[in-house]
C-alpha cells in the first residue's frame, strides 16, 4: 500500500561524467581472449576501460560516415546531420560506462543514441527512457556470451540481406522512425527470437551479479 504521507526519497543523482572518471570497473578477460570480438567491440571496450582515444578515433572513423548517411536518409540536411553525428559521438565517449557487450552490440547501442539525439533535435521532445540497470557496477566479462551475441547478430544481418526489396524497405522505414505504430506490421520478417533469448541471458547474468553485489 502506498503511503502518501511519507515523502518519497529524493532520487536525483546528478552525475557529471568527465574524462577518465567514467571508466567502468570490470573483471576483464585478458586481451588475448578478446581476439574473437569484432573490431567495434574491442574499440568500445578500450574506450570504456582505458579512455583510449586512439580506439575512440577508430570508432569515429567507422561510425561517423554511417551515422551521417543514416540521419540524412530521414531528410536531414548535411550540416545538421553532422551536428547530430558530433553529439552522438560525444555521447558515446561520455556514456561509455553504460555500454554492456553482454546485452548489446556497439552498433545497436549507437543506433539508440542516434535515435534519441534526433528526437531531441528535430522534434524538440524529450525521449523517455527505461530505468538504467547499472551505472558503474563491477561486472565479470564473459567472452563466450559476448561472442555468441555477435554471432547471432551475424545471423540477423544475413536474414536482413535476404529480405525481398519491398519488405526490406518497410523494415528500414520502421527503424528509421518513419512509420507510426499503426503502420508497422506485427511481423517484421526478421528472426529476432534467438537474439532476444541471448540478450535475456545477458540480462540474467547482470541481475545475478547485481544481487551478489548487494549481498556482499
Amino acid at each position: 500500500m502506498l503511503n502518501l504521507e511519507q515523502p518519497l526519497r529524493e532520487t536525483r543523482q546528478t552525475t557529471a561524467v568527465v574524462g577518465s572518471a567514467a571508466c567502468r570497473k570490470w573483471d576483464r578477460v585478458e586481451e588475448k581472449d578478446q581476439l574473437d570480438y569484432s573490431d567495434q567491440t574491442r574499440w568500445m571496450m578500450a574506450v570504456q576501460a582505458k579512455r583510449d582515444r586512439v580506439a575512440f578515433g577508430q570508432l569515429f572513423d567507422f561510425y561517423a560516415p554511417r551515422l551521417k548517411g543514416f540521419v540524412m536518409r530521414t531528410g536531414v540536411p548535411s550540416a545538421q546531420a553532422e551536428d547530430i553525428v558530433q553529439e552522438v559521438m560525444l555521447t558515446v565517449w561520455r556514456k561509455a560506462a553504460q555500454f554492456d557487450p553482454h546485452r548489446a552490440q556497439v552498433s545497436s547501442w549507437i543506433y539508440q543514441i542516434a535515435r534519441n539525439r534526433q528526437i531531441d533535435v528535430l522534434r524538440r521532445e524529450n525521449r523517455v527512457m527505461p530505468e538504467e540497470l547499472t551505472q558503474e557496477a563491477d561486472l565479470t566479462e564473459d567472452a563466450s556470451q559476448i561472442v555468441a551475441l555477435e554471432q547471432e547478430t551475424e545471423t540477423l544481418r544475413a536474414a536482413l540481406a535476404g529480405l525481398k526489396p519491398g519488405q526490406r524497405e518497410m523494415v528500414e522505414k520502421a527503424y528509421l522512425g518513419e512509420l507510426s505504430h499503426s503502420e508497422i506490421q506485427a511481423e517484421t520478417g526478421l528472426p529476432l527470437g534467438t537474439i532476444k533469448s541471448r540478450i535475456r541471458l545477458g540480462l540474467e547474468k547482470l541481475r545475478h551479479e547485481l544481487k551478489e553485489l548487494r549481498n556482499a
Partner: protein, 211 residues
C-alpha cells in the same frame, strides 16, 4: 510478485525503439520495460536490428574538421540530466515525469483520484488511483489507450491486469475496468485525446477535471 502476462505489442515496440511514439505512450512503454525484463530484451533485439541497418548504411563523407571538433570536445565538462530512480511503486520514468516528487492527487469523486503528468495536442498521460472494488470511470476514447498497472489489479472484458501488465485498447473498445477488491489500484494511463466518460460522470464536468 506474479509474472507479467500482458506485454507491449510488436508494432508499439518497434515504434518505441525507433523513437516514433508520442511522448505519453513512450512514457508508458518505458515504464513497462523498467518492470519487465522480457520486454527489455525484446527492445534490445529491435535495437540490434536497428544497429545492423545503421552498420549497413551507405556512408556519407563527413567534413574534414568534424573529427577534430569531436576530439576537442572530449574533455569538455558536461552536466548530465538528472537520473530518477524508482521510488515506491513508481519506476524511474514515472518519477522523472513527477520530477522526483510524490503525486499530487486530485479527486474525481467516488474515491478515484488522478494526477495528470502531461497533456497536450499529442495526447495525455496520467496516474489513476482507484480504490479496491471501485469501477474505473466508464469511458470510451479516440485512438489508442495504454493502461499499465503499478499497484493492485483491475479486470475488464479483456481479462485481468496485475502489476506490470499493460492493457492496449483500440478506439473501438468501450470498456469498464473494475479495480480488484483489496489494495488500491494505481495505473499509468495514456490516451491520444482527452477521455470521454460515458455515464460515470456528466460530460459537463470534463473541462473542469481535464479528463
Amino acid at each position: 510478485m506474479t509474472a507479467i502476462s500482458h506485454h507491449i505489442s510488436e508494432p508499439l515496440m518497434v515504434a518505441y525503439a525507433a523513437g516514433n511514439l508520442a511522448e505519453p505512450y513512450a512514457l508508458v512503454v518505458a515504464t513497462h520495460i523498467s518492470m519487465c525484463d522480457e520486454c527489455r530484451a525484446r527492445m534490445a533485439a529491435h535495437e540490434c536490428a536497428g544497429g545492423v541497418l545503421l552498420e549497413g548504411t551507405g556512408g556519407q563523407a563527413v567534413s574534414g574538421d568534424l573529427k577534430d571538433r569531436v576530439l576537442s570536445g572530449l574533455d569538455t565538462e558536461v552536466k548530465e540530466a538528472p537520473v530518477y530512480a524508482r521510488s515506491g511503486v513508481f519506476p524511474g520514468p514515472v518519477m522523472a515525469a513527477l520530477k522526483g516528487k510524490p503525486p499530487q492527487w486530485k479527486s474525481l469523486g467516488f474515491g478515484v483520484r488522478q494526477q495528470i503528468l502531461q497533456s497536450s495536442g499529442k495526447g495525455s498521460v496520467r496516474l489513476l488511483y482507484i480504490p479496491g472494488g471501485q469501477a474505473v470511470p466508464d469511458h470510451s476514447h479516440d485512438g489508442l489507450e495504454l493502461t499499465l498497472v503499478l499497484q493492485g489489479a483491475f479486470s475488464d472484458e479483456s481479462g485481468r491486469f496485475g502489476v506490470g501488465d499493460l492493457e492496449i485498447a483500440d478506439d473501438d473498445v468501450d470498456h469498464a475496468p473494475m479495480a480488484e477488491h483489496g489494495e488500491v489500484c494505481i495505473c499509468l494511463a495514456a490516451t491520444s485525446a482527452p477521455l470521454r466518460f460515458n455515464s460515470w460522470m456528466p460530460r459537463l464536468f470534463q473541462p473542469l477535471f481535464r479528463i
